[in-house]
């Protein structure tokens, strides 16, 4: 009885806190602060405790997987652990969204909460950080887009990939190795057969700081990760609408 009372009093705050923690994890992944995995692990650890306290064991378990993956990532630095961490964050996000939907109840009586989503415009997310690409793709998928992630090690294979995928929009992180996003943008924009593909540069810099780079690279748009994941999704929505 006490757990139910606790849930009814704290569930909304738990969901809000979860979203803040996930947003912070996203910003951590996008940034260049030292010890990203260590900070992610700490964020997820606090989240595990909160989920346990309110009786959300599935969320606690998923967050624990994320915490452990972040700790392994810190130790090994291996791409496998980075991917495992991104997947766990995605799982946590989905569970929190499901919880939020069930807490809110169906919008209209009789309407099922889970409705199949229409597959929206295809978006290619290009980032040398698997974690970052995964988080952006996940948020886009939740918003109804059909995202795909990739890494670009060289210009020609990358252009060939874009030709195959034919996305409505390519999101390019600027600070990528070995080929920077603005270089790939310029190449994409000068390919006549890809003129219908919108290209946006994505960065932890502000849009003002990106302005010169964007202009030189002939990008259709600039998207700052610093504004948060919802703002990134909104800019993608605007750009794909404009491009449609």
């Amino acid at each position: 009885m006490m757990l139910e009372e606790l849930r009814s009093k704290f569930l909304a705050r738990f969901i809000d806190t979860a979203r803040v923690r996930l947003e912070r994890a996203m910003q951590l992944a996008a940034g260049s602060t030292p010890d990203i995995p260590g900070q992610l692990a700490a964020e997820m650890h606090a989240f595990v405790g909160e989920a346990m306290a309110i009786g959300e064991t599935a969320i606690a378990t998923a967050a624990r997987v994320g915490e452990q993956a972040a700790r392994r990532w810190k130790q090994t630095g291996s791409a496998q652990d980075v991917i495992a961490c991104a997947r766990a964050l995605r799982d946590v996000r989905k569970l929190v969204d499901t919880l939020a939907a069930s807490a809110a109840g169906p919008a209209v009586k009789g309407t099922p909460v889970m409705t199949p989503r229409a597959r929206g415009p295809r978006v290619l997310v290009v980032d040398d950080s698997e974690l970052n690409a995964g988080l952006v793709a996940d948020a886009l998928e939740d918003a109804g887009f059909a995202p795909e992630t990739c890494q670009a090690r060289d210009v020609e294979p990358f252009l060939a990939h874009v030709r195959r995928v034919r996305p409505a929009l390519v999101l390019l992180d600027i600070q990528m190795k070995p080929v920077a996003g603005d270089v790939l943008c310029r190449e994409l924009r000068s390919a006549p057969d890809l003129a219908d593909v919108q290209v946006a540069l994505l960065s932890g810099l502000t849009e003002a700081e990106m302005a010169d780079i964007g202009k030189r690279a002939h990008a259709h748009g600039l998207i700052s990760k610093g504004a948060g994941i919802d703002a990134v999704v909104e800019r993608v929505r605007q750009m794909t609408r404009r491009g449609a």
């Binding site: 606790l6 595990v48 309110i54």
Partner: protein, 121 residues
Amino acid sequence: MSKHVLIVDDSQLMLDMARHALEGAGYRVSCARDLGELERGRAGEIDLILMDVQMPEAYGDDVAGVLRGVHGVRVPIYLLSALPAADLGERARGAEVDGFIPKQGGMPALVERVRTILGAP
């Protein structure tokens, strides 16, 4: 006057939930989010300290060790954490605290343990 529990945790949500649960069971509760608040919080009469293990400033088991060894705190100190029970048990033994309470059981289990440790409020 009812028995007084001091909870140390860096998550405000966790503190608020624990306060709600323990106050609902009749205990008095003080909360501390960091070492500064802990220093102020332990000035009053405390019957039990519940200490989170992984906090940004320090590990709770280290803090507990200092409270015991340096400040001579005699009231029961329990580690309260989302760590797996085996890890938590090891840390509790290392820190020479009175025991540990895993967060896994949620708030009902926490209240039950506090009742076992302190008796009725």
